[in-house]
């Protein structure tokens, strides 16, 4: 083996060991959820057992218990309810805003766009204290509507920014042709630009949904009764502090709430990153 070959093999081995170790670190907790969720209770809590091996046949008892004996079902429904309404509000506000930023507001639109993007960086931890008072004053405390009201405050800025990028990529001729055909500027936007931007709007919808689903700080602040929680708060607060020997159901709940949404998100992540870093990376 000559030096050149040696070097190539060395590089390849380094790359695969880096990939292997880090990927294992990142994916392991999800695999661990899966193993735990299907292990029988006796098998799970026997310290003499190898935790990676199934000594007894896998079981569905934990998943059954999760749905039959906890509020998990209700939390999933609550999450879907909040998510859908947040998506609706976000699309309604962010799509026109993105179009205005891309086409109609000229030079100050650019600055306004950066301003809107920066509000995305204002974190819940700075706002949750005053917002908790606002929510009480509106009599929305302990109600899912408080989340519907507040979540667009972080989905709209980012979505408007993302839509701006999409609209900028559409050639101006498209609207000009439509306006020559007799549409107003607004008509051209609604009838011609929006239909060809459905991919962008879908991306924004998916992100808003997943961001709403992941949110924790506002939900833990505003919601107090078990029945009104979302999955991302219900699982860590109410399931954890129940029964000590509840890890099987808990991990089943974690897996069901995280991996399907992760798969959905995965399809759109490149667009998300492109929007995230636009302006910062070229």
């Amino acid at each position: 083996m000559n030096a050149e070959q040696f070097r190539i093999w060395g590089a390849r081995a380094t790359r695969w060991s880096v990939l292997g170790c880090i990927t294992f670190f990142l994916a392991f907790p999800f695999g661990w959820m899966l193993i735990t969720a299907f292990k029988r209770t006796g098998d799970l809590y026997d310290l003499k057992h190898n935790p990676f091996v199934f000594y007894e046949a896998p079981t569905l008892e934990h998943i059954h218990r999760l749905f039959a004996e906890t509020h998990y079902n209700q939390w999933l429904l609550n999450t879907a309810f909040v998510g859908v309404l947040v998506v609706f509000i976000t699309v309604l506000l962010a799509v026109p805003a993105g179009y205005a930023l891309a086409r109609l507001t000229g030079n100050w639109g650019e600055k306004l766009g950066i301003g809107i993007f920066l509000t995305y960086l204002v974190p819940p931890t700075l706002l949750f204290i005053p917002l908790s008072r606002v929510v009480v004053n509106l009599h929305l405390d302990d109600s899912l509507w408080s989340l519907v009201l507040v979540y667009p405050s972080f989905t709209v800025p980012f979505s408007a920014w993302l839509m701006m990028g999409f609209f900028k990529a559409i050639p101006k001729d498209v609207e000009e042709a439509a306006m020559i055909d007799g549409y107003s500027r607004l008509g051209a936007f609604i009838r011609v630009v929006v239909p060809i931007s459905l991919a962008g709007i879908l991306t924004v919808a998916i992100f808003s949904f997943t961001l709403a689903m992941q949110e924790f700080v506002y939900a833990v602040t505003f919601i107090s009764s078990v029945r009104n929680l979302t999955v991302s708060v219900g699982v860590p607060t109410f399931l954890v502090h129940g029964d000590v020997y509840f890890w099987g159901s808990l991990m089943a709940g974690c897996f069901i709430a995280s991996v399907p949404v992760a798969i959905l998100y995965n399809f759109f992540v490149d667009r998300f990153i492109a929007g995230f870093t636009a302006g910062a990376i070229k």
């Binding site: 695969w16 990939l19 880090i22 990927t23 990142l26 994916a27 907790p29 999800f30 661990w32 935790p51 309604l92 026109p96 805003a97 205005a100 930023l101 109609l104 507001t105 639109g109 306004l112 960086l121 974190p123 819940p124 931890t125 700075l126 706002l127 949750f128 204290i129 005053p130 917002l131 908790s132 008072r133 606002v134 405050s153 306006m179 007799g182 107003s184 500027r185 607004l186 008509g187 997943t210 992941q214 700080v217 999955v231 991302s232 699982v235 399931l239 890890w247 991990m251 974690c254 995280s258 991996v259 949404v261 992760a262 998100y265 995965n266 990153i273 302006g279 910062a280 990376i281 070229k282």
Partner: protein, 315 residues
């Protein structure tokens, strides 16, 4: 001016009628603000207004139950700064942010370089790598709670198996320095995917002929890395660092779910302390004061972003 001339045929000709409506909706000076103002209004009401409320709370004596509010000047800040809780939290915030960012930068660069070229199975590996970031973090953290469990920790079991420890093993979340280490590990786990993907996006924007030119010039791996790749990825790493700092300074979810700030407040950070003081403790004013200490940090990061945005515009 010729509107009277347009009105008559408008009734007869639908295209003309549309034209007339168009004359109002065509004016970009009106339409732009019309389309953008609902979003702006929403952001002003739900981000801007609460922000100024937070400023006001921090100089008042308001609590969760009270209806009245009196101006107390900088008393909250003075009170807060004096407490050992706050000083610990401030110190922990920086330890947590800086250590985790160093580890994230090193790992994400290594990972991005390893993922740069195409190979079989890359899509699957990318999906696995992205999991911690795309799954809800509060839920991912619970898996770690199980991994760090005091009795059934799989980490302790593995260490026992390879003979590194004997007996019960580590209390991952129960011992001061170890707890901070565990928190940082989980935070790295959560943020590494985002950092890697941003770096990959940046790496793919570097023209390939730069690398080819360096290869032609006979640069070896390390020389190539330090003189070509590193200068090119530094600006992207800066973006990663800025995003990372924002999310690290303001995060309390991992700490809330794993240690609740314990043991003995050794993992309490500003964000979690603000939560425990303002929401759990009901002292809105002091909580707001604590969370406002985050603001200068965030402002610095935002200014960093603006500088980068401006620089890329020029080039």
């Amino acid at each position: 001016m010729d509107s009277s001339a347009q009105i008559k045929p408008a009734a007869a000709n639908p295209v003309r009628a549309r034209r007339r409506a168009a004359s109002i909706l065509d004016r970009e000076g009106w339409l732009g603000p019309l389309l953008i103002s609902p979003a702006i209004l929403y952001i002003v009401l739900l981000v801007g207004m609460p922000f100024f409320m937070a400023l006001y709370y921090s100089v008042s004596n308001t609590t969760a139950g009270s209806e009245t509010m009196a101006f107390v000047g900088l008393r909250n800040f003075a009170n807060v700064i004096g407490t050992p809780n706050f000083q610990t939290a401030l110190k922990n915030t920086f330890t947590f942010a800086l250590l985790s960012q160093v580890v994230i930068l090193i790992f994400s660069n290594a990972l991005a370089l390893a993922l740069q070229n195409d190979f079989r199975g890359k899509r699957l590996i990318r999906f696995l790598i992205l999991l911690p970031w795309v799954a809800p973090i509060s839920i991912g953290t619970i898996a770690w709670l199980w991994i760090f469990d005091s009795t059934y920790s799989v980490l302790n079991w593995t260490l026992r198996m390879v003979g590194a420890i004997q007996g019960q093993g580590f209390m991952w979340l129960g011992v001061p320095h170890l707890a901070m280490g565990s928190i940082i590990a989980v935070h790295v786990w959560r943020q590494l995917p985002l950092a890697t993907v941003i770096l990959l996006a940046g790496l793919s924007s570097i023209p390939k002929d730069i690398h080819d030119a360096a290869a032609v010039d006979g640069a070896g791996f390390w020389r190539h890395f330090f003189q070509v790749t590193l200068p090119l990825i530094l600006p992207i790493s800066l973006v990663v660092l800025l995003f990372g700092l924002v999310f690290t300074f303001t995060d309390m979810i991992i700490i809330y779910n794993l240690t609740r700030g314990g043991p003995y407040d050794t993992t309490q950070v500003l964000a979690s302390l603000a939560f425990y003081t303002g929401i759990a403790g009901g002292d809105l004013a002091e909580g707001a004061a604590i969370s406002l200490f985050l603001f200068p940090l965030l402002l610095a990061v935002a200014l960093g972003f603006l500088r980068i945005a401006r620089r890329t515009e020029v080039t």
